[in-house]
């Protein structure tokens, strides 16, 4: 059964990612991104990272995609359509995609990975499924990064306020 779910979620993720790339309308692209993120959250749940799946849905699918939709609708620059791609751009980006896919495929196929999950002790939940482990790591080993990330969020908030402030640009500076 997890196998079926893996293929379902991976198909959903990849198909909607293609939708993000080729969609004419930026609003539709944002909604495809939302579906793609939901697929990734399902894959996280299959990997026993339930907290991260919930966080991904809340932070990405909730906040980030909503912000994207808000900005797309705020700017609404071209009536939702796009010009057809230039031939040079299409060829160059396809070559770039092919190079990257070849490199990644070679890397994955040449490397020997363990094919089975590390067996957990009998009656013990997998390591990502227990919230207590997260708390232990975040407040002991990774205490300093937690503080730094909190500070980073504060700085980002201040930066956004400064950036989006309408300042009267003095004309004589030009």
């Amino acid at each position: 059964m997890p196998h079926v779910l893996f293929y379902f979620f991976s198909f959903l993720t990849v198909a909607t990612a293609v939708g993000v790339v080729v969609n004419k309308n930026a609003v539709n692209a944002a909604l495809c991104l939302l579906l793609s993120l939901v697929g990734v959250a399902g894959l996280f749940a299959l990997l026993d990272a339930y907290l991260l799946a919930a966080l991904l849905v809340l932070v990405y699918a909730g906040a980030v995609v909503a912000l994207f939709l808000f900005i797309v609708m705020l700017l609404d620059t071209q009536g939702g359509t796009r010009k057809p791609f230039k031939r040079l751009t299409a060829v160059a980006s396809t070559v770039g995609l092919a190079l990257l896919v070849t490199g990644l495929a070679t890397l994955v196929s040449r490397t020997q990975f363990a094919t089975v999950a590390v067996p957990t002790a009998a009656g013990q939940a997998p390591v990502g499924a227990v919230l207590k482990h997260y708390a232990e790591m975040l407040f002991t080993t990774y205490l300093l990064p937690v503080q730094v990330v909190g500070f980073l969020l504060l700085i980002a908030m201040l930066g956004v306020i400064v950036l989006s402030r309408k300042h009267a640009v003095p004309e004589e500076t030009k």
Partner: protein, 101 residues
């Protein structure tokens, strides 16, 4: 029988490549930004898969930090795009060529 590590890595690589393709192909700054987010999520998927198949929690914690930084990054990036639009009245990258000459 669950999917193995290499399946997850192939999927993550595919997702990353699709995001990269979008960044190269599209002209709208907002869609380019969405494709960047797709690449970031693909890398977090690889991290979670590695972490799961090694039985360690460090990758999960790393993804936790990546999610936080990505949220901050999106807020700042979209504010920059809005400021750019206010100044130039466009978000198409081929019209934003004021550094050219």
């Amino acid at each position: 029988m669950n999917a193995g590590l290499s399946e997850y890595l192939v999927l993550s690589g595919l997702l990353f490549a699709l995001g990269f393709f979008g960044v190269l192909l599209r002209k709208n700054t907002l869609v380019i930004y969405m494709c960047l987010e797709l690449m970031l999520v693909a890398s977090t998927l690889a991290l979670v898969a590695f972490s799961r198949f090694n039985g360690a929690l460090d990758g999960h914690v790393f993804v936790f930090f990546i999610l936080t930084v990505a949220a901050a990054e999106v807020a700042v990036g979209l504010a920059i795009i809005v400021a750019l639009f206010r100044k130039r009245q466009t978000v198409m990258v081929d019209e934003l060529n004021h550094l050219k000459n």
